[in-house]
Symmetry: C2
């Protein structure tokens, strides 16, 4: 895929959302996004824990925090996709999104997001019209966008890698 995929996490509250936002970042990375931006709030702890994962498990995923969401949106030149239970069903629009060659900014919010999100988005996409989880919505969206190709990627510069197996845990560690 030639386009860049950036996730914009809105509404992060460092104490309350620490674990959910970390899950969002790790999902973004594992399912093939290039970067996550945590809007408005600087959170060095999450930045550093995600960077540790990148260093150990490889790839070139980036994380930044504290940039105002309005600035990110204003400067974005590609498409904007808002994941929301009120949007159109993913299976109806994912082909169109996948086939456009534009970079993609994916908005995921904690509980409430500003009304503006629905307006600025090129696509409001629902992963079921039921309440559930932005972590799950992001994973299924990226999984559908990549059509499952993300599942067996090998990441460059990994210091550790899992060898899939039927029972137990098998890993290889690399020394550089």
């Amino acid at each position: 895929m030639q386009y860049k995929i950036v996730v914009l996490r809105y509404g992060h509250r460092p104490e309350r959302d620490k674990r959910i936002t970390t899950h969002c970042a790790l999902v973004a990375r594992a399912f093939g996004a290039h970067k996550i931006i945590i809007a408005d709030v600087k959170d060095k702890n999450i930045e550093s824990s995600v960077k540790k994962v990148v260093k150990l498990w490889g790839g070139s995923f980036e994380i930044v925090s504290g940039i105002p969401w309005k600035k990110v949106v204003k400067e974005w030149t590609g498409e904007i996709i808002n994941l929301t239970m009120y949007g159109l069903p993913i299976n109806k629009i994912i082909d169109k999104i996948r086939n456009s060659s534009k970079d993609k900014l994916i908005l995921i919010g904690a509980e409430k997001v500003p009304k503006d999100f629905y307006e600025i988005a090129d696509y409001n996409v629902a992963i079921t019209n039921q309440p559930h989880s932005e972590v799950a919505a992001l994973a299924v969206f990226l999984h559908e966008l990549y059509q499952g190709e993300e599942l067996e990627r090998e990441l460059e510069n990994a210091k550790i890698r899992v060898i899939p197996c039927k029972k137990g845990k098998k890993v290889v560690k690399f020394e550089y």
Copy 2:
């Protein structure tokens, strides 16, 4: 689908995991599982918040907590599926799992799970071999199991329902 799907959440710590476990439960419900069991730890708050969602948004999803995981596993007569980044890639085994008519108990853990899980499982299934999130793993597993059919289910007895739309929020409310 004729079989019953139950999610067993292991390692829940009420303070630390409140939000992640709630997301697990809502994902289980939204993606078509029938029930979630929170193992070992009684947590009335999560039970009640998930029951509120069921009452409002419909369906017959069940939640219980505080049952020892060993008891659940011992009494389970169907298959056991352990979601783990160390397992076999989902795309290699999902057809086999889908085509078997047995009920399915899906294990998802917080950080560490007992070694036993790998042994008692009929399938250890990886949703990527990268570290990410049990919320995401559960969503993608159920999405693959149902082949996307779960995305547009209508749930019975809903008091509120989303009308998918391009911009904004549209809901209908039912009075019974």
